[in-house]
Symmetry: C2
Subunit: 408 residues, 2 copies
């Protein structure tokens, strides 16, 4: 393998639905020297990570830690630790990530029921309540924000419904944690997971997770059965065993607890990154950070509308950090994305499933949820649309976005 040179990526401005540009402080923290995984300095960092992520998740849960993998690893660890083969589960499905939850549950061998909304809408709480009553699920699972549709599912009151029905509640906040309010305790969520690569402004590869006492009890009971499996005095055919070693939250919790039982070799550099992401979030303050994302979403929406683009989805439930706009008739969406990348070094997002080829998605999250990056993106897009023959743009998108940012 000749001619593989030193790493030297172009400096793209990543204004799609994620991954986005990491905060430079996060990347610098990740260049720190490694430590052994039972080094007292390392376990101190682990305890700090647990403490840092509690307020970010809106929780007092002692079990707040990291899964070593991307956001999807956190999702799978949560679902496989909550649901056993044969369990009935209910998925709140309003986009691609509801489909993902269903698929993972099916692979686990669970019986999956869904309560659905069309793409661009959310599921009303009373529809979820009716589905819980009808289905009697052991686990209810929902995305918070689903970047595929740009919708954020309202979650107030869902935890109470789940507890009344004896169901465990899982929430995927990959796309919202650190950008929109996540309130694990107030929601009554049993497991909440995320990733670094969106509003937390880090690279993909570490999945923050929080686990309620109720879910921890459930997992510890399953773990007890597994210990039998490991020592050989257990018939392993009963379906209670967690079907993964890597994603067995009970074993991972034993490593993050004072017991410090060995599991895998902790991904130290990613832990350093996750720690720095959280430090930056708490230094800025959650309220300030959410307000910055709200202003960003408002500015992006106003700018897109000002250039004559129609937004996708229900305004009332739009995520603050990602906005989808219809590709105007006669415009080649991929040609626009290419020009944005090649002429301006700006990445905007394509779309999936029923929206493939119909909308672009514009992210303004984490380190990129900043006024100048939104203005630059809108100005570039307006120029590219003109170059691609789109006539409806009035050339005032940047001004409209600036006014919206300033709340005018």
């Amino acid at each position: 393998m000749r001619n593989v040179g030193e790493i030297d990526p172009p400096q793209r401005l990543l204004m799609g639905p994620g991954p986005i540009n990491a905060h430079p402080r996060v990347l610098r923290a990740m260049s720190a020297d490694l430590l052994g995984q039972f080094d007292p300095e390392m376990t101190t960092y682990m305890n700090e990570v647990m403490g840092l992520y509690r307020p970010i998740f809106g929780t007092e849960n002692p079990w707040t830690f990291l899964v070593d993998g991307t956001a999807r690893a956190g999702i799978e660890a949560a679902l496989i630790s909550l649901a056993s083969p044969g369990d009935t589960v209910l998925v709140v499905n309003f986009g691609r990530f509801g489909l993902l939850l269903s698929e993972i549950f099916k692979r686990i061998g669970a019986h999956v029921e869904t309560v659905d909304a069309p793409w661009g809408e959310v599921v009303p709480l009373d529809a979820i309540a009716a589905a819980i009553e009808r289905v009697g699920p052991k686990v209810v699972a929902t995305p918070h924000g689903d970047t595929s549709t740009t919708m954020a599912q309202p979650l107030e009151g869902l935890g109470v419904l789940c507890r009344e029905a004896g169901a465990l509640l899982y929430v995927d906040t990959t796309a919202t944690l650190g950008g929109m309010e996540v309130a694990a305790d107030r929601w009554g969520a049993d497991i909440v997971t995320a990733g670094l690569q969106k509003c937390l402004a880090g690279p993909s590869g570490s999945a923050p997770i929080t686990v309620s006492a109720r879910a921890a009890d459930h997992i510890q009971r399953r773990k007890h059965v597994e210990q039998g499996l490991r020592t050989g005095d257990h018939d392993d055919g009963d379906g209670i065993i967690i079907g993964s070693n890597y994603f067995d939250l009970g074993m991972i919790m034993d490593y993050w607890s004072d017991k410090r039982l060995n599991h895998h070799t902790e991904a130290t550099t990613m832990l350093y990154g996750a720690r720095e992401c959280a430090r930056i979030v708490l230094e800025e303050g959650l309220a300030t950070r959410f307000a910055r994302h709200t202003a960003s979403g408002r500015a992006m929406s106003a700018g897109l509308r000002a250039m004559g683009l129609r937004l996708f989805g229900d305004d009332r439930y739009r995520m603050t950090n990602v906005t989808a706009a219809y590709i105007p008739e006669g415009v080649d969406g991929e040609a626009v994305r290419r020009r944005m990348r090649e002429d301006f070094e700006i990445e905007i997002g394509t779309a999936f499933g029923p929206l493939a080829g119909k909308v672009w998605r514009f992210g303004a999250m984490g380190y990129n949820a900043r006024k100048h990056k939104i203005l630059i993106t809108l100005g570039a897009l307006e120029a590219v649309l003109r170059a691609e023959g789109h006539r409806s743009s009035a050339g005032c998108a940047v001004d409209a976005a600036l006014d919206a940012w300033n709340g005018i």
Copy 2:
């Protein structure tokens, strides 16, 4: 969470069985700017990674890529993609990591048979051959080097036996890749996996993997069934479906192929690190690198013996990069490790299972398989042992190690 300061770990010299200190170039490469996961520059980097790891694995396999997680994630992805529930599998078990392979297979629902050697020995090829004949396994799985016992299992000829028996062969080279020769093609291995945190001199969190054409066919056939699952026109109760989305190698291969089908968000920073690890290995040259590890193991062994310590395990099969020595009678092994860390900032390894409390493990791998680091470690250990009242040390360990390094 107040008082969580900037990351500032002590500079420990990590001379245990891993993780070890990353090469500084690797950590610097990881601070490069992020890219979108379908950016042409990003997919170029992915293709380069594939090309870089082929010679390191000793393979021509097109399917050579990364799993996003620690070494253990690579192991689980391999096993869950090869074995289905109910399959009979054979594990070559000569230490802790054979037990891990067995445990993961059991969680998958496979029927596990083992062919065993006592800790400190390896399994003779004819014993494996007899076990294959007796068991008729669908998959044979073995560690290459097992750091728990410091033994390296000879693998020449095993692939032929597996092919004759219609079995797929999996080899875990976490502890050896980049330090001892790995010859996936010559061994006839179908999947080989590793991690960065040992001889590749990177941080834990990315798992290089190579997949033979035969294994890829097997996985693609399973994937076909899953696509039915995803589109809903398939009865998902037949046990052929891979029980994990995150570890479904078929889907990960679709992302690394020219199809570039979306799966999870690639852990870009870890990919940058894995790429730099491989560049450094190939710049040094495999033969030079293996010779450096061989000299390191020889020097470490000679030094330990010169201070009167008895080594654990069969000399003929000792890994070159990690050496275990019995803790002398009357010496508190943990007190020695603490003094090594506190007085010298050097980490040496403890042990597991039947060896817990009985041996220390000394790693000299990757960036740390260097003369001065071995001499420094031995000199420090000799001083600590004297301080702890160990009388048998003649004070010549460093000289003996230097002679052994130089082949005298």
